[in-house]
């Protein structure tokens, strides 16, 4: 969040903006806050307080700085935890940012009733009392988007945590410590050309290739394009339509960034997790929910995807989860090397850490903050994965606040708007044609923590309706230490047909066949397992006994994957294919043997260990050791015959 309140020294050089912040009555404040909607802003909704791009020479850092005292300001009326009621001028708008009390706690207007407004506060409101000042900022909760987000760790309002102290008190991070890093800028737009929103003005050299774009809602003649060189994130690099364009820009977190159009998702996102890539693949720009009770390995699976999937940028939102776990992720990302770029994985990652004991309502904002950051990078033509762990904690924040507002509860105390809020969040995931004509995507992966493992509870039940893929984690599998515990009977991927067609077009028609074979074999083994529990394995006919064996081989040699093993944590598509190929070949040979009259018992007694260990003995992208293991086992089968 940012308070563009510092009177800008270079204000007078800018166009006399038609200021659309009607709120404050103190003219001096209003003057300082001309948030400058350009007159040509016809592509944006006619809301007030849009145009979030400030024009101060130095962008305000996230923090609580702002204008000082004045008379007749709105005042606090009521405080009940994060719910604060204030007196409110008629000009205040929904979702306007408010700062509360002398401590300048940030909050957001969530309801207006007569001359009072309800505000949800993003900080601990201890000692805030009726009569304390409240100050409407005249613009919605916005975050500063800049290249320096990459590699950083932020709280739910995108304030950098590395600048805060050991303990997060409501005291603001010290002002003045502006990010001094510089970035290499290479201009791509000629001086004086006509440009429109989304057009590339230049390239920014970072570990991930970034671009300087004409911000949404702007167009006109590009002037003052900076020469190639190194610049800070808040330096003016061009002027478009009379307004400065910087790398850093503000954007309201609750407003999706505009795109030209949505594209169908048919490019696979390779996660490196076999259970996912093989059985429940996800397309770039798709949406995934990962429901699982505690101890089923949700966080572990999501962390694996954050580390190894082939997206350009990862936005990891730890939403109401464990502090030690966040510390662990941050440390591991800083240590691990990105197999594709050679840099640190942290350098392509934006981490938003809002642990379960940090203020509740910032947790509510954090998923929107994460989506906004993801869209910012998407607009540069990048593929972004947004991971939210866990959306249930976010829904609980909604519930707590709705309850304090006295809203009528729907299911289990959740507000009636839960389903639409969930749907709106997942809809921020999409493969798109950007305003500038590039293609980019945001893939949303949300963890769901059903209370008591109850999959019929509202958050799980509604989320399932809105996502394209479901990776359901099974407690029995986790209990048997089968990780990742993705249930093959209760998960789905609605992207699979489109991806199968895409693979076929790309010359790999056997992809769909392989997936079908594994799914059928696992289902068959599950069906027989129930029977075996009743009558024992010896009562089954030979072919069925081999099916049971095949199920075990697939589970242990292919589907299981060790997140802790350097060789197995990531599995390249060719290794996954080789493992499936090896198991399928061995199973087919076993079937041939029993068909030719060999006892099923003799086949079962063969030592399959090399096959089971192949995923460990082969490196992340190796296939030769897998083939060798297959041949060893085939030779043993030949002996058994």
């Amino acid at each position: 969040m940012t308070t563009p309140g510092n009177p800008a020294p270079d204000e007078d050089t800018l166009a006399p903006a038609a200021h659309d912040n009607p709120a404050p009555d103190e003219s001096t404040l209003a003057q300082a806050r001309h948030d400058n909607p350009a007159p040509d802003e016809d592509t944006l909704p006619p809301a007030a307080h849009d145009n979030p791009a400030p024009h101060e020479s130095t962008l305000p850092r996230p923090g609580y700085g702002g204008p000082g005292d004045g008379a007749d300001r709105p005042r606090v009326l009521r405080v009940a935890g994060p719910l604060v009621e204030i007196t409110c001028p008629s000009t205040a708008a929904m979702h306007d940012l408010v700062v509360l009390g002398a401590a300048r706690l940030p909050g957001e207007v969530v309801a207006i009733h007569g001359d009072a407004a309800t505000v949800q506060a993003y900080e601990y409101t201890g000692a805030l009392a009726p009569g304390h000042p409240a100050e409407l900022q005249g613009h919605p909760l916005s975050v500063r988007l800049a290249p320096d987000l990459l590699g950083g760790v932020f709280d739910g309002l995108l304030r950098p945590l590395h600048r805060a102290g050991d303990l997060l008190t409501a005291v603001e991070p010290s002002a003045g410590d502006v990010d001094r890093r510089t970035w290499v800028f290479t201009p791509r737009a000629a001086e004086g050309t006509e440009v429109a929103a989304g057009d590339v003005l230049g390239e920014i050299g970072a570990r991930v290739p970034l671009r300087l774009l004409v911000p949404p809602g702007r167009s006109g003649r590009a002037t003052g394009v900076a020469a190639a060189g190194e610049y800070r994130a808040d330096a003016v690099l061009a002027v478009v339509g009379g307004e400065a364009v910087r790398m850093a820009q503000l954007w309201p977190v609750r407003r999706p960034r505009p795109v030209a159009r949505r594209l169908p998702g048919d490019v696979p996102l390779t996660t490196g997790q076999r259970a996912v890539d093989l059985l429940f693949p996800v397309a770039r720009g798709s949406t995934v929910a990962v429901p699982g009770g505690f101890g089923t390995g949700k966080t572990m699976l999501l962390q694996q995807i954050a580390k190894w999937c082939d997206a350009d940028v990862i936005v990891y939102v730890g939403c109401g989860e464990r502090g030690n776990e966040m510390a662990d992720v941050i440390e591991e990302l800083a240590e691990l090397t990105d197999p594709r770029s050679g840099g640190r994985l942290a350098e392509r990652t934006v981490t938003i850490a809002n642990t379960s004991n940090m203020p509740m309502m910032a947790r509510e904002a954090s998923v929107h903050t994460g989506a906004t950051v993801a869209e910012y990078f998407r607009d540069m033509g990048l593929d972004v994965v947004l991971i939210a762990d866990s959306t249930s904690r976010w829904a609980e924040a909604l519930r707590e606040f709705a309850s304090r507002m006295g809203e009528l509860p729907a299911e289990e105390g959740y507000p009636a708007g839960l389903a639409s809020r969930l749907a709106a969040f997942y809809e921020r995931g999409a493969a798109v044609r950007t305003l500038g004509g590039a293609s980019g995507s945001v893939t949303v992966i949300g963890a769901v923590s059903p209370p008591g493992g109850d999959r019929t509870e509202p958050v799980t039940a509604h989320t399932e309706r809105f996502v394209r893929c479901l990776w359901s984690l099974d407690r029995d599998l986790a209990y048997a230490r089968h990780y990742p515990a993705v249930s093959w009977s209760e998960s789905f991927s609605r992207d699979a047909p489109a991806l199968a067609a895409a693979y076929a077009r790309a010359g790999e028609p056997e992809w769909a066949e392989r997936r079908g074979r594994v799914a059928r074999q696992l289902a068959e083994a599950d069906r027989l397992a129930d029977l075996v529990e009743l009558v024992g394995i010896t009562a089954l006919p030979p072919r069925e006994r081999i099916s049971v064996l095949a199920g075990r081989l697939l589970r242990e040699a292919v589907i299981q994957q060790s997140a802790l093993s350097p060789a197995d944590a990531y599995s390249a598509p060719e290794k996954t294919a080789a493992l499936v190929e090896a198991v399928v070949t061995v199973v087919d040979r076993c079937l041939e043997l029993v068909d030719s009259g060999v006892e099923a018992e003799a086949v079962e007694a063969v030592d399959f260990t090399p096959l089971l260990r192949a995923r460990e003995t082969a490196g992340p992208a190796e296939t030769a050791p897998v083939v060798a293991a297959r041949d060893t086992v085939l030779a043993r089968l030949a002996e058994a015959a």
Binding site: T125, G126, G323, M360, S403, P451, G452
Partner: protein, 463 residues
């Protein structure tokens, strides 16, 4: 911010359950601490739950019994509740509000701290990676407690969770580094409270213990304060004094019930089983206070104990606890029925941080592999046991029969332990080997060959 401090308000409007509504106040802030004087002469304490214009809602920690509208006077402190912190707490026994219960003078400290605490900055946290040894074999080997971890004990009525909690509190050590235990009892019976005091007398005498005891007949609302006092004292001992502090909090179900009572009195919309919708956040505000901070000595490790009503692990209290904590130690009625103490269910129990806190340089090099192999073998034993119940022992293979033996050896040589028996980690791990070696070497695929060579008895090697 202190506009209300010092002024005595008499405008009591309503009294409802544990809540007191005072009108005519000005400048009173949310979450402020209040002192309430009764016309009968008593003094009570409270916290501001809500302030709406000139009406403050105060949650009275000792309950509202005996209060009337005309003679009750309320003074607000102007700040959230702060308590003195320091080493003066060590060796003391206090009630659930921190008042001395040992006949000693009130505890004073050099500095004061907010009982609400402040969240540790996630980027300043040091990932936990060193063990706290408890001397309890099942815990040390299979669900190792790691410094800075939060690991709850899930129990049910009638199981010896208090004995286990006291045993851990009495025996826990951190490899000779400065250590302390803060024990917060909530809703304990007097018998249990006496048991805790006796069991921890030696630790208290060594000035390594702070005891907060809220008994079952103490005011219910006081329980909301007890764990916060304990954690505030512990945080200071850890991050300012540099000790490794183990905070035992029992029983968290009693705590949650107090929270529900306040929520109901306020007429809040209930969530599951009438617990308030913010139960998760409230529990997290306690459990998440564990951890380590980069560049500071000391650690806060939290061991909450909770009884699952009717043994139901999907009840909101154990369920939400499980989502916050890093694993759980589950006590089982079946193991208890077989006469084994501590009745730990090894398969349902888990320590998520164990991977980082065990092994060479942490505990012992063979520890992680031994623990993993033991769990795998026990899982197999349980399957075999079920199979044997269905089809009879005679139909089992020799390997299966060995797994049945393994379960027995596990129970008698490994799990079973006296309530005051303090086993070294070496002893505990050797017992784990003894259990594992009831199986043939070929069944121990998770153990590296060199470890097997080093530990297998000559008898086993000969096979």
């Amino acid at each position: 911010m202190t506009g209300g401090a010092g002024i005595e308000y008499t405008g009591v409007r309503d009294l409802r359950g544990p809540l007191l509504f005072v009108e005519g106040v000005s400048g009173v802030g949310w979450d402020e601490f209040a002192t309430i004087a009764l016309d009968s002469g008593g003094r009570r304490h409270g916290l501001v739950l809500e302030v709406d214009r000139d009406v403050a809602v105060v949650q009275v920690l000792q309950g509202t019994s005996g209060m009337n509208r005309s003679g009750t006077r309320v003074v607000f402190s102007g700040t959230p509740l702060r308590i003195p912190v320091g080493t003066g707490w060590l060796g003391r026994v206090c009630d659930g509000r921190g008042e001395p219960a040992d006949g000693g003078p009130p505890v004073l400290g050099g500095s004061y701290a907010d009982v609400g605490g402040a969240p540790i900055n996630p980027v300043r946290r040091e990932p936990p990676n060193e063990a706290v040894l408890t001397g309890v074999t099942a815990v040390d080997v299979l669900t190792t407690l790691v410094r800075g971890q939060k690991l709850p004990v899930f129990s049910a009525a009638g199981l010896p969770h208090l004995e286990l909690a006291v045993q851990i509190a009495a025996q826990a050590t951190c490899a000779g580094e400065p250590f302390a235990v803060v024990f917060a009892g909530m809703g304990l019976t007097h018998t249990d409270a006496a048991f805790v005091r006796d069991g921890l007398a030696a630790r208290s005498a060594a000035r390594e213990l702070v005891l907060f005891l809220n008994t079952a007949d103490d005011p219910v609302i006081e329980r909301l304060l007890t764990p916060r006092l304990a954690l505030t004292v512990a945080e200071h001992l850890a991050f300012a004094v540099g000790r490794h502090v183990l905070v035992v909090m029992t029983d968290m179900t009693a705590y949650s019930e107090a929270l529900r009572e306040v929520s109901a009195a306020r007429g809040e919309i209930p969530a599951r089983r009438a617990y308030p919708g913010y139960l998760y956040s409230d529990l997290a505000s306690l459990y998440e206070r564990c951890g380590r901070i980069r560049g500071r000595p000391g650690s806060v490790t939290v061991l909450p104990v909770l009884t699952m009503p009717a043994g139901d692990i999907t009840h909101p209290v154990p369920d939400l606890t499980g989502y916050i904590t890093e694993g759980q130690i589950v006590l089982s009625g079946d193991v208890q029925a077989a006469g084994t103490y501590p009745p730990v269910d090894p398969l349902a129990s888990l320590s998520r941080l164990m991977r980082k806190g065990t092994g060479a340089g942490r505990t012992r090099a063979d520890h992680p592999a031994v623990a993993a192999q033991l769990i795998a073998a026990l899982a197999r034993s349980r399957q075999v046991r079920e199979l044997a119940d269905l089809i009879g022992r005679s139909a089992l293979s020799p390997t299966d029969l060995r797994h049945l033996d393994l379960e027995d050896v596990f129970r008698h040589r490994f799990l079973e332990q006296g309530t005051t028996e303090d086993r070294s980690l070496g002893d505990s791990l050797d017992r784990a080997w003894e259990v594992l070696l009831t199986l043939q070497r070929s069944q121990l695929g998770m153990l590296p060959a060199d470890l097997l060579d080093a530990h297998a008895s000559p008898r086993e090697t000969a096979r």
